[in-house]
């Protein structure tokens, strides 16, 4: 007999499949999602009138078309993106032929696989919780396939509740597995993270006005914990990139050589900071750090412009410890070729600015005077805004003499231009400035919106100096952070929303640190906290087996635990317990036995025992049949008496019976032996 899915089963299956595909929506090609929705919708509508699976003559061309379309979109079907698109398509096509519970089970198993692949794209806590919810839907659909549900009006609700309960029970098992499964040191195939997750972040070029999008992106960029006290806002400059080439509109990065040793800094000068950064995936290789890093984390190198560069793009959250010195005096001098490059300006651009710089140079005579004049100019009547007027071809002159409003990029760009025009080697530095200090978490949360650009100038005898022209225009940008200053028309930037988001970030950080970043090293560190220092793979597997066995044992105890009958009132429970005790002592009785019948059964076995039981039986009969509503106190007294009687009179009988059965068992064994021989 072949069972066919009923309508409710099929509907739940469709919902589970649709929810699974929905977890992939953000990255599916634009044509695929509507096509799949159409296919599923048609199938559901069609099945209503025409039960039976869609014919193979229709299904096979559809599958072929899917394959061709995916290959056309991505070039192949292997890899993360094309693979997941193809999987989603196959899942929807599977619905076309699903008619029996067997088909539905296969479809749901495949669903679980496709669901897991969604986690390759996004690993945040909210998304993971969403995936878990979809998993519960799938388990409920699987449960719904079982024949003969309990009669009742809400089988769907029952299935969902069962699935949620199973997931809840499975959680300890899942955690044990998660902590103890040995992690792979090197991947078995592919390179992990070659298709990791990327975000928009800093770019390696800067044209004024470009940060705009970044300034509105509230997602975390990095989190920093300091070994000592938090540096003041004026020191919280996380240098990420140095841009030194200018073509009139855009500053670009120049690959400088690598340093074999950190930049030498005069002993005793500057402030030393030891800190640890957790960087969100950026798909780029640069690692932000405070001013001058004097230690290089593993898996990274130090570039000639004192920025840290990772060996591989950051596709997973990455944690690294750095020591930096801020405000130290340089020992080296600037090589001639570098000085040339840092003074180079594009021709035919910013002619008025050049004239102004030349005028300052003539008036002031020294570098400090030029810098002071430039900052004074900005302080005079420039304004800070996130929505500045668009600039034309000659961005420097237009900004300096016409629009006079902009944000950090404009100021950094114009300032560096002026410095070079005045003969001072200068470059643009980009990175992040400031952040939100989480007192509870003890870390500094730096968001993408904290992106910043500033200038660095070279002064002979002093070295590289950080100058932030934005601070001259809008000092609060530096002291209070980007959010306080940037115009915030959206309701999402209301104060309480920001506070809430900052607190939610605490949970996100915990998730990133505790779960997403839980690699072999952390596993080792966690276990050694419990005093387990030798944790090779074999030991981990052994521990895993032990923990699983323990959990299985607990589950077995639960499964073997007979369900208590909780029906009836307190008096019924007294009666049931008495009968159970008697049954253990060898006096069998039946459900239909009344008090006197039970008493007779006891008497048949042991008259003395029956006599002692008489008061208990009488009291029960009187309470059960003699009064309309038994008094609680009397029931409690009877309960106590019955229990005492059982303990005093039945204990010995039970022991004797136990011994007897042991003797009988050994007797049987001996008989068996005799029979064999």
């Amino acid at each position: 007999m072949k069972r066919v899915l009923d309508r409710a089963q099929f509907a739940l299956l469709v919902v589970a499949v649709a929810a699974t595909i929905a977890t992939h929506l953000p990255h599916l090609p634009a044509w695929l999602a509507p096509a799949l929705a159409l296919a599923i919708g048609l199938r559901v509508g069609w099945r209503r009138g025409h039960p039976g699976s869609v014919r193979a003559i229709l299904r096979l061309p559809l599958a072929a078309a899917l394959l061709v379309a995916v290959v056309g979109e991505y070039g192949n079907v292997f890899g993360r993106d094309p693979g997941s698109a193809f999987g989603c398509g196959l899942l929807a096509l599977k619905l076309l032929e699903t008619e029996t519970p067997r088909d539905a089970r296969v479809a749901l198993a495949f669903c679980a696989f496709v669901l897991m692949s969604a986690l390759l794209f996004e690993q945040g806590l909210p998304f993971t919780l969403l995936v878990c919810a979809v998993l519960i839907l799938q388990v409920a659909a699987l449960n719904r396939l079982e024949p003969a549900p309990l009669p009742g009006r809400q089988p769907l609700w029952r299935s969902l509740a069962l699935a949620a309960r199973l997931a809840l029970v499975a959680t300890p098992l899942a955690l044990v597995g998660f902590v103890l499964v040995p992690r792979l040191g090197t991947p078995l195939w592919g390179s992990p993270g070659s298709d990791g997750l990327g975000r928009t972040g800093l770019a390696d070029s800067m044209a004024p006005g470009q940060f705009n999008d970044l300034m509105l992106d509230d997602s975390p960029a990095l989190r920093v914990t300091f070994d000592a006290a938090l540096p003041p806002p004026s020191a919280q400059y996380f240098r990420t990139l140095v841009l030194s080439d200018f073509d009139g509109t855009t500053w670009t990065r120049v690959m400088s050589g690598l340093r074999h040793a950190p930049r030498p800094v005069q002993a005793g000068s500057g402030q030393r900071y030891d800190y640890r950064i957790t960087l969100e995936p950026s798909r780029q290789r640069w690692l932000p750090a405070l001013d001058v890093p004097v230690s290089v984390p593993a898996g990274a190198v130090l570039a000639g412009d004192d920025t840290l560069i990772a060996n591989l793009p950051v596709t997973q959250p990455r944690e690294y410890a750095v020591t930096s010195i801020s405000g130290g005096r340089d020992v080296e001098s600037l090589p001639g070729y570098l000085r040339q490059r840092l003074l180079r300006l594009p021709p035919d651009v910013g002619l008025r600015a050049r004239a102004l710089a030349a005028q300052w140079r003539a008036e002031a005579g020294n570098d400090a005077g030029v810098v002071e004049r430039a900052l004074a100019l900005f302080r005079s009547d420039f304004s800070y805004t996130l929505s500045p007027p668009l600039l034309g071809r000659d961005s420097i002159d237009e900004f300096l003499f016409d629009t006079r409003s902009g944000f950090c990029e404009h100021y950094a760009s114009a300032f560096v231009f002026l410095m070079r025009a005045a003969g001072i080697p200068a470059r643009v530095a980009t990175g992040y400035q400031g952040g939100w200090w989480s007192g509870a978490g003890g870390y500094l949360l730096v968001r993408q919106s904290d992106a910043h650009a500033w200038a660095e100038i070279w002064r002979d005898g002093v070295g590289w100096l950080r100058v932030d022209p934005t601070a001259a225009v809008a000092p609060q940008r530096i002291d209070l952070g980007a959010r306080q200053v940037n115009d915030a028309p959206k309701w999402t930037q209301a104060g309480w929303v920001r506070a809430l988001r900052n607190h939610v970030d605490l949970v996100n950080r915990w998730w990133t640190q505790g779960v997403v970043r839980f690699d072999a090293l952390r596993q080792r560190a966690l276990l050694s906290e419990f005093g387990i220092s030798h944790n090779e793979h074999g030991d981990l597997l052994l521990m895993l087996a032990g923990a699983l066995a323990l959990l299985m044992l607990l589950a077995t105890v639960w499964a073997l635990h007979a369900t208590r009958d909780r029906s009836g009132d307190a008096l019924d429970r007294v009666w049931r317990r008495l009968r159970r005790d008697l049954a253990r002592a060898g006096v069998a009785s039946r459900d239909c036995d009344g008090p006197s019948t039970l008493w007779q059964r006891v008497r048949d076995i042991d008259a003395e025992l029956a006599r002692s039981l008489q008061p208990v039986i009488d009291a029960y009969a009187r309470l059960r049949y003699g009064v309309a509503r038994p008094d609680d106190g009397e029931v409690a007294r009877l309960s106590l008496n019955a229990r005492q009687w059982s303990r005093q009179r039945l204990q010995r009988r039970r022991l004797a019976r136990c011994l007897q059965s042991v003797a009988a068992a050994t007797g049987i064994n001996t008989a068996l032996h005799r029979g064999r021989s």
Binding site: V106, M116, L120, L150, L173, G177, P187
Partner: protein
């Protein structure tokens, strides 16, 4: 090919049961009530369960390879759900009691419905299934003792047991097959099969009572109160209307014409064939509310009529010894 496989399977099973009674257990009938306790419940993964395990392994490898911890956590969670479903399934079967079996009157070879009364031990149990011979049925038990109806065709006459039942479940996710064999001892009395197209009743018969039925004046016929096993055509509808309760015409027995169904007079038939014909005649005579006598090699029943007599006759026929035992 499937037939060969099935034959091989049953032969293997027979060998296993002979050699390993403790493992295959319950070859022997056991008295009810019986409880499904842990020692008689067996668990194996289903084909789907095995496939799912392979899938989980692939997911685990993928998650480890890409160092994707949320995916690993999801895989572990699914693994945990698989484990929990095993215990939930075991829990669904464990502690179930078969209280009693009952059967209606039935003839060999005819389909009947057995009633199996289960005590679910104070918790509801969905998704249970029962297989017996080729019958398979799914049922759910609410938390109170419930009767489950199992279609059954008795193979022969006499005292018959229903044989071994496979009580199983794949609850809750279809990943594990959890089963227990049940071979209840109670036997049912199965009446002989009725001969199909049996010849008409011997000597005339069966006509007793026709006079009263066709009597012109109904008042003349004796009337008595309806009893539950009276034939419907004997009801005196008009008289019943007048008296507000059902009345039946008294049919007068005619001693001289009494019907005799004699085993020894059925020459030329085998032992079992005679029994089948006699059973068919008994049923036919009873349907006509005739009075009849059943003569068997070692006993004689009747003359009498009515349901009680019919039952006695069929019982005597059912319990006749098999052919070789008849002298």
């Amino acid at each position: 090919m499937p037939r060969v496989l099935a034959a091989m399977r049953s032969r293997l099973l027979a060998v296993a049961e002979r050699r390993l009674p403790a493992l295959t257990r319950l070859r022997l009938p056991e008295p009810v009530p019986l409880t499904l306790h842990r020692r008689r419940i067996y668990v194996l993964p289903t084909a789907f369960g095995l496939g799912f395990a392979v899938l989980l392994l692939v997911m685990l490898l993928g998650a480890l390879n890409y160092g994707n911890n949320p995916a690993l956590l999801l895989t572990c969670l699914i693994g945990g759900i698989v484990g929990a479903s095993l215990f939930a399934g075991f829990h669904a079967l464990h502690g179930l009691r078969l209280l009693q079996l009952h059967a209606p009157e039935m003839h060999a070879g005819a389909r009947a419905v057995l009633g199996l009364r289960f005590d679910p031990a104070a918790r509801s149990r969905p998704g249970l299934r029962l297989r017996h011979d080729n019958e398979e049925l799914g049922f759910a038990l609410p938390a109170v003792p419930t009767v489950v109806e199992l279609p059954w065709t008795a193979p022969g006459r006499g005292w018959q047991r229903c044989g071994r039942l496979r009580l199983w479940t794949e609850y809750p996710l279809g990943l594990f097959d959890i089963w227990s064999w049940v071979n209840p001892a109670p036997a049912f009395l199965v009446y002989p099969a009725l001969e199909a197209d049996a010849p008409p009743l011997p000597e005339g018969q069966g006509a007793i009572g026709e006079r009263a039925r066709h009597g012109d004046d109904e008042e003349l016929a004796g009337l008595r109160d309806y009893r539950s096993n009276d034939a419907r055509r004997l009801i005196a509808w008009k008289a019943s209307l007048r008296h507000d309760h059902l009345l039946v015409r008294e049919v007068e027995p005619r001693a001289g014409l009494a019907l005799t169904l004699d085993y020894d007079r059925l020459h030329g038939l085998g032992h079992e064939a005679r029994i089948r014909r006699l059973a068919a005649w008994v049923v036919a005579a009873d349907a006509q509310a005739a009075s009849y006598t059943l003569r068997l090699p070692d006993s004689c029943l009747g003359p009498a009529r009515g349901a009680e007599h019919r039952r006695e006759c069929l019982r005597a026929l059912a319990l006749l010894p098999a052919a070789e035992a008849v002298p």
